[in-house]
């Protein structure tokens, strides 16, 4: 769910960057120096997983996006983490683009932060595997759908003529959201069982109340 170079006219690209900037700044502000290695390693794994895991779906397979998981694990730091991973994707694999880096960071990062604000308190206390799965799945689906809405909105801002793409993408993305939810749910229930402290994004908050 990226917007490529060339599609976004300059005003939209600039608006996207400006929209992403406060979130990125907030994410960096709450990230303490000594937590940088932890944030970096977690985002490395997320990056690798979105790149390498192919979830079989019908005759094809899909890559997970892991926005919801990024939010649960990284909190506000998901914004700079997505900025970096989208930059790497653009540089190494031509997914997304350089002029659209701001928009894409906003599209992927803000839902992650939203999920963090909505679910983090609950996930930290959740020890029941089944409920952890449901919370994870809800977080995964919510972030996925929110990213889809933001993506569609950004695309329509780029030009009305892109509405057909949004229309075509709508149904498949509902299915993809479900796959994303199941995958995220399993990861979250794994973590809740094996290493619940990981949802301390406490790790990535400043002392006291993050923001």
């Amino acid at each position: 769910m990226h917007i490529s170079d060339g599609v976004a006219p300059i005003p939209v690209a600039v608006a996207g960057a400006l929209a992403a900037l406060p979130g990125i700044a907030a994410g960096l502000k709450v990230l303490k120096e000594e937590r940088i290695p932890a944030a970096a390693l977690v985002s490395s794994v997320l990056f690798l997983s979105t790149l390498l895991v192919r979830l079989p779906l019908g005759p094809s397979s899909v890559h997970p996006l892991l926005g919801g998981l990024a939010g649960l694990l990284l909190g506000w730091s998901a914004m700079p983490a997505f900025l970096i991973s989208l930059f790497l994707q653009a540089l190494l694999f031509q997914f997304g683009g350089i002029t659209t880096l701001g928009i894409n960071t906003f599209v992927m990062g803000m839902p992650a932060v939203g999920v963090y604000l909505l679910f983090n308190g609950r996930i930290r206390r959740e020890r029941d595997t089944r409920k952890a799965f449901c919370l994870g799945a809800a977080a995964g689906i919510a972030a996925y759908l929110a990213s889809f809405v933001l993506w569609a909105g950004a695309l329509l801002l780029c030009g009305r003529q892109l509405a057909a793409i949004v229309a075509i993408a709508f149904l498949p993305n509902l299915v993809l959201a479900a796959a994303e939810g199941i995958f995220t749910g399993f990861i979250v229930s794994f973590l809740a069982r094996v290493y619940p402290a990981i949802f301390g994004a406490p790790a990535f908050e400043a002392e006291g109340e993050g923001l």
Partner: protein
């Protein structure tokens, strides 16, 4: 396979200071994205191709990247012209394709390809760690630079862990199929890597503390802005100024 490969080489582009290369890439992307003039777009595409050739980017790698990008372009050509208002160029299965829509798709495709070419030629030829250092010298916030450098530093280490675990799964007859078992197995694999990476990050922090870490990061690498860099920057900005002038002057003469 390494996740942090780049287009290594020893052309004059590789020898340029990374900082002007980054700035020129960004400026080029901005100007190209702004352009709608057919002449400018053709020139931009030509410039991108020329730089890619000068940087000796392997043809196979370049083809792969352009192919990936242009799958999206094909989607544009199929979806945009039928819904774009304007004169009908032709009809396919009685769906009218508008001239304006085709031209818009074409110009978008040209912009995207030109930007990708320049991006690959100027920035794809910088080792990623050097790129991180260059960001530091371009005043990118220190925490962001170090987040970037740490992410890169452990990408291959974690990739190796991923491949090893997946291989062990394969040795136990794991074959992906559309079952919950597959989703669950991949999820556990990812979960395991997350747990281990967090534990590793704690050991890294311990190692940092043992060497007296007190919250400050240092960057030791420095670059020299040479005469060649000045020449490259001057020529690049002159060309971009020309693009802008042509765009502003000939805005009416689109296609």
């Amino acid at each position: 396979m390494s996740c942090t490969t780049f287009f290594d080489g020893d052309t004059f582009i590789h020898r340029l200071d990374p900082r002007p290369r980054i700035i020129v890439t960004l400026a080029f992307a901005a100007v190209t994205a702004f352009s709608s003039n057919s002449g400018v777009l053709c020139a931009a595409l030509a410039a991108g191709l020329a730089l890619a050739v000068l940087a000796r980017i392997p043809a196979a790698a370049l083809r792969r990247r352009l192919l990936r990008l242009n799958i999206f372009t094909v989607v544009l050509f199929v979806t945009v012209p039928p819904t774009f208002p304007g004169r009908t160029a032709f009809a396919l299965f009685s769906i009218p394709f508008s001239v304006e829509g085709l031209l818009w798709s074409l110009s978008t495709a040209m912009k995207a390809n030109a930007i990708v070419l320049v991006f690959a030629a100027l920035m794809g030829t910088i080792d990623l760690f050097t790129l991180g250092h260059a960001f530091h010298h371009l005043k990118v916030p220190v925490k962001l630079t170090h987040l970037f450098l740490f992410t890169l530093r452990y990408l291959d280490v974690l990739h190796h862990e991923y491949v090893t675990l997946l291989r062990a799964m394969k040795a136990r007859s794991f074959r992906p199929s559309m079952r919950l078992h597959t989703y669950r197995s991949y999820a556990w694999l990812t979960g395991m890597l997350l747990v281990r990476s967090l534990e590793r990050s704690e050991r890294i922090l311990e190692a940092m503390k043992c060497r007296g870490f007190s919250g400050e990061f240092h960057v030791l690498k420095h670059f020299r802005f040479s005469a060649a860099d000045a020449a490259f920057s001057a020529v690049s900005f002159a060309v971009l100024a020309l693009f802008l002038a042509a765009e502003l002057a000939g805005a009416a003469a689109v296609w």
